[in-house]
């Protein structure tokens, strides 16, 4: 069965990059730039994984992650964090993320993280 990934990021270039990588590999990609859209998409399409960034305009990625959890969405979340910032990673896990991936990243590594979450 096709696995779906919700990419929740305001950066359309990152959305396009992840779509270019994951779609040919058989994943279905949903994209959104805002928190309300993310909650709605997560509820209606029930993606298998959510990929989001810690750095987002407005309330930020961590608060958006908390919002998703508060809305009752239990989908595994991979948080994209700044390079080598341990504090970022700790906060991401506290906010409800299940895994993180440092940016910039090798998409193959992100795929490994996503596969491990899907297998869990």
């Amino acid at each position: 069965m096709t696995k779906s990934i919700l990419v929740f990021d305001d950066d359309t270039d990152l959305q396009a990059l992840l779509t270019l990588y994951f779609e040919p590999r058989g994943y279905r990609i949903l994209t959104t730039s805002d928190g309300t859209g993310a909650i709605e998409l997560a509820k209606t399409h029930k993606p298998d994984v959510i990929v989001m960034d810690t750095l987002m305009p407005g309330k930020g990625g961590l608060e958006a992650c908390r919002d998703l959890r508060r809305a009752g969405i239990a989908t595994p979340i991979v948080m994209l964090t700044s390079k080598d910032l341990e504090e970022d990673k700790r906060r991401a896990l506290e906010a409800g993320a299940n895994a993180f991936q440092s940016k910039p990243f090798n998409p193959k590594e992100l795929e490994v993280v996503i596969r491990s979450l899907l297998a869990a």
Binding site: D13, A16, L17, L20, Y21, K103, P104, N106
Partner: protein
């Protein structure tokens, strides 16, 4: 006419003068408003055009992600229309700034083969300040080590706005050898810029921590207690993490 001017000189304006002046002012405002709308429409159209053209070059990024050979990637990035150079470069940079590992290396080699890096290195010496700034930004996002010397030159000799672009570019390139320049430049930056400088230095990871401590010690008055606490937590968290 002379009477009107004399009346104006005496501090009184005729009704006709007030009416004409108001009409002229109103026309000027309308003209400015119309030119703003035209400019806005032009930018929107340009943005739409560039987005459309970008889609043509995104297939090249798809090839990179599919581990295609360099020749195929270079071919996919070849300009399809006059004026596409900056669009193809943007697509390349948009991907490179998010990537690392083999896809980044492949894009980097394609950028070299297509002279994107050479062109931007030359633009570092452009007379046009805007172009120099754009070149620094592009070379930073492409993490081009060859650009370090040229960017340091700009960092040392240009005004504050260019210094900030140069610092951002050097942080993106991430060569720890430039860290002493960050410390040196901290003496020239206004105090409100210090937290920004340090946050850029965090991009270097552990390699930058000693120099961050040095800047905090030198300019402790520039950091609020909260920012200081966050920084110390960040540095100590990294030290606790095993390599």
């Amino acid at each position: 006419m002379t009477g009107k001017i004399l009346a104006a000189a005496a501090g009184r304006f005729s009704l006709a003068f007030v009416v004409y002046a108001s009409l002229a002012f109103l026309c000027l405002v309308c003209l400015m408003f119309a030119s703003m709308i035209v400019l806005r429409l032009y930018h929107q159209a340009l943005h739409r055009y560039r987005q459309g053209r970008k889609k043509l070059y995104r297939s090249a990024v798809g090839k990179v992600l599919a581990d295609a050979p360099l020749a195929e990637v270079v071919e996919a990035f070849r300009l399809k229309r006059w004026g596409d150079a900056s669009i193809a470069q943007d697509v390349m940079i948009d991907a490179m700034r998010h990537l690392t590992g083999p896809p980044f290396e492949l894009l980097s080699r394609a950028a070299q083969r297509l002279d994107v890096i050479e062109r931007n290195l030359n633009w570092l010496r452009s007379r046009n300040k805007h172009r120099r700034g754009q070149a620094m930004e592009a070379l930073g996002l492409m993490r081009t080590p060859q650009a370090v010397v040229g960017i340091i030159d700009i960092l040392e000799n240009e005004p504050l706005d260019m210094k900030l672009v140069a610092l951002r570019a050097l942080a993106s390139i991430g060569d720890p050898a430039v860290l002493p320049y960050f410390v040196r430049i901290s003496d020239q930056l206004p105090p409100p810029m210090m937290p920004r400088l340090v946050s850029l230095m965090l991009e270097f990871g552990r390699a930058g921590h000693d120099k961050i401590s040095e800047i905090i010690n030198r300019h402790s008055e520039c950091f609020s207690p909260r920012v200081l606490a966050d920084l110390m937590r960040e540095i100590s968290a990294d030290l606790e993490t095993p390599t």
